[in-house]
Structure formats: C-alpha cells, structure tokens
C-alpha cells in the first residue's frame, strides 16, 4: 500500500504528468497555447520509432522467449474480447445507443501507445525489467477490437458499412502499426550495434519529447472536455472510470497465465486498461460514421487516458508486483 502511494506520488509529480496537467489547464483557461499539427505528428512518429526499436533490441538481446508467440495470441484475444465486455457494461450502466456503445467498446479493446510508453517509463524508473516483445503485443492489440465492434453492430444494431477490403487494409496497415512493427523489426535485426549508433537519439531525449507530447495531449484533451462534456452522461463517465480496471483485471489474468515477469504482467494490465485515441477513431469515422465522435474521444482521451496516466499505472504496477511476488 505504501508502495502504491509512493509510486503514485512520484508519478503524479513527474515532469511528464505535470506537462499533461499544464496542457489541460491551459486549454480549460482558453489560452491560445498550441502545438502545430505537424510537430505533434512528428513527435508521435519519434515516440513510436523509439519504443519499437528499443523493444526489438531487447528481444535481440535476450533471445526469443518461448512465451512470445503465446503473448501475441493472448493480446489478440484480449483485444477482440474486451469490446464485448465493454459493450455489455455500457448497455447496463449508460444509455448510449447500440452504435455509440459499439464504437466506444472498440476503443477500449484497442490500446493507447502513449499510456504504454508512460507505463514502461515508470517501470524503468522503478528498476523493474519487462519483456521487450511487449511492444509487439501492443501492436497486435491495436486492430482486432475494431473487427469485434463491427461484429457487435451487425449482431445487435442497424446496418453498417460493409467491411470492404480498403477498410481492412487501412485498419491493418495503419501508420502506427506499421511504424511500431517496422521499427521493432529494425531493432531486432540490428540489435545492440544498431542501438549504439542511434541511442543518443532514441534514448537520451525520449523523456523530454514525451513531456512536450503530453503537453499537446493535455491541450487536446482539455479542448475535448470543454467541447464534448455536453454529450456525456454520468453513466458514460462511470464507464470510462470503471472499464480500465476491468481491462486491467483481464490483462492480469492473461499475464499470470503466461507466466510473465512482474514488468510483463504490469504492461499487459496497462495495455488492456488503456483505450485507443488514434487508430480506432479514424476507423470508426469510416466504418461507423453515425457514431458520435465526441462521446468516444472524450471518454478515451478526456477520462480514461488521464486516469491511467495518473493513478492507473501505479496501481497496476503495485498489483502486478504483489501478485507475482516481484520487488
């Protein structure tokens, strides 16, 4: 318990979290502070490249764990399964329409890579090792949730845009998946030698870039809260606060079944608890244009993301430590 509290305190007072808070505050106070779209996109490319590369190098270093394949499968199952739980939960505690509920569910099956990065940072600071291939698991969890949500719609709801091959390719080959998997492969192939060449680019400035990126996410989240809060019901917000813990529990079970390390279990919890705000919203605009973006974006970016960032991550790590007997 002490552990959780001190971890949570350290986390809350880190430059990364405070930068996010600054962004939210600036935006709620209607300051004109803003980060150009191109710069925000550039930073997200940097973060994806760095995190993928480091994951690959770590796999090259430690060899392929026999659980790599199983972890990927577990990730796919979680991503496909969580939307169904989320959908059920939403139908019970909120009054969202079928279409809106399915769209929100898709977001919670998929993952937020920045939450993953934040979780990895906290683990690193705490000296807890993780399986390097977790970044591949993250990539695997991006897309299946979308397919689940479309299935939910066709099962419970009105007609949906038929899943054409263009949409399928867009989902599978979306920029962040390709960059994450690609840089993971590059890191794996080039290994320690490759890392030596570029570590002062991808390791040293990483935390600092993350600060500015979270400043931007805070600005965007704050804008969303200002504009989108009208569309929010108490039930929906309750879902956004509850679902992360449901997801984390599923992630915990998966991590334990696979026999991962403390860090691996914690990251499985973080991934399952997090909600997408990049890949899934774009897919939803194509496949479910009737769903209201302010609902799913506000929940994902305005409620669940800050929750995970501040309290969620320390709690998941503490639980993973307790359960696996780590540290």
């Amino acid at each position: 318990m002490d552990n959780i509290l001190s971890l949570a305190a350290t986390n809350l007072l880190s430059p990364v979290i405070l930068s996010f808070a600054l962004g939210v505050l600036a935006s709620l106070a209607r300051s004109d502070l803003s980060i150009p779209e191109a710069v925000a996109k550039g930073m997200s490319i940097y973060l994806l490249f760095a995190i993928g590369f480091k994951g690959g190098v770590s796999v090259a270093d430690h060899g392929i764990d026999r659980t790599l394949g199983l972890s990927l499968v577990a990730g796919l199952i979680l991503s496909a399964g969580l939307p169904i739980i989320a959908f059920g939960l939403l139908r019970v505690i909120s009054r969202l329409s079928t279409v809106d509920a399915a769209a929100v569910a898709a977001h919670y099956g998929s993952i937020s890579i920045v939450t993953f990065v934040a979780g990895s940072s906290v683990l690193e600071t705490s000296g807890i090792a993780t399986e390097g291939y977790m970044v591949a698991v993250a990539a695997a969890m991006e897309a299946p949730a979308i397919l689940s949500a479309l299935w939910l719609i066709s099962r419970f709801g009105a007609d949906t845009r038929e899943m054409d091959s263009a949409l399928m390719r867009e989902i599978m080959l979306n920029g962040s998946i390709v960059l994450l998997v690609g840089s993971f492969a590059i890191g794996w192939i080039t290994g320690k030698d490759g890392l030596d060449q570029i570590d002062s680019f991808i390791i040293a400035p990483f935390q600092g870039v993350l600060c500015l990126f979270l400043l931007d996410m805070g600005l965007v989240a704050g804008r969303g809260l200002r504009g989108g809060s009208g569309a929010m019901s108490a039930g929906a917000v309750g879902f956004g606060l509850l679902m992360p813990f449901v997801g984390a529990t599923a992630g915990l079970a998966a991590g334990m079944l696979l026999g991962l390390s403390t860090g691996g279990v914690a990251l499985f919890m973080v991934l399952s608890a997090s909600a997408s705000y990049i890949a899934v919203p774009a897919a939803m605009r194509v496949a479910l244009p009737e769903a209201n973006p302010s609902i799913y974006l506000t929940l994902s970016l305005g409620v669940t993301f800050p929750l995970n960032l501040t309290l969620g991550i320390p709690i998941y790590i503490a639980i993973a430590s307790a359960v696996t007997g780590g540290s």
Binding site: L219, R223, G227, V286, P293
Partner: protein, 103 residues
C-alpha cells in the same frame, strides 16, 4: 481571350474519406481535382480544429473539381454515395476556364 463555361464542384469532407472520394472521381473518368487543407470548422457535428491533433480522425479537406457542365449531373449521385453518411458539404458554382481543352 477565349474562355469556357465550367462547373466548380467543391466538397468539404473528412480526410479519411478523401481517397474514397477521389477513387469515385477516377472511376467516373474525372482526372482533374485539387485538394486543399482545412484548418477547422463548425457544423451540425460541432466545432473542431486541427491544432495539436494526433489522430487522423478529425481532420477535413476540401476537394475542388472543375468539370464540363454536362458531366456534373451524373457525377453528383456517385459523390453523394460516398459523402452520404458522412459529415461535409457539397457546393457547385459557375466559373469560366482558360485552356478548356484540358477538361
């Protein structure tokens, strides 16, 4: 100077639908269009702005297409099919063009 009558079709549409729209244009034999960036806007689905966006989900673009007047009518149905369930606006204006042999 010799000019010709043409129609200026302007479609404000979500970025994610851009490729689908231009695919339709190509299919219908329209080979000329221009895509302009959009910074933000407001409509029935609320206000939005491009600032700090990391997702492609909420951006829009404007596709402008200059066509011969007689080609307009049949094209509109197909465009509406793409735009239909999506947010966005379609306007048609009259213009004169130079070098009409291009259209």
């Amino acid at each position: 100077m010799q000019t010709h009558k043409a129609k200026r079709l302007a479609i404000i549409i979500e970025s994610i639908m851009q490729a689908r729209l231009t695919d339709i244009l190509k299919e219908k034999g329209v080979t000329g269009w221009t895509v302009l960036p959009v910074l933000g806007g407001s409509g029935r689905s609320g206000e939005w702005s491009r600032e700090g966006q990391v997702s492609r989900a909420s951006g829009m673009v404007q596709v402008v297409c200059i066509i011969k007047p007689e080609r307009l009518e049949p094209l509109l149905d197909d465009i509406l099919k793409v735009v239909d369930r999506h947010i966005g606006v379609v306007t048609i204006g009259d213009v004169d063009v130079l070098r009409a042999e291009r259209f």
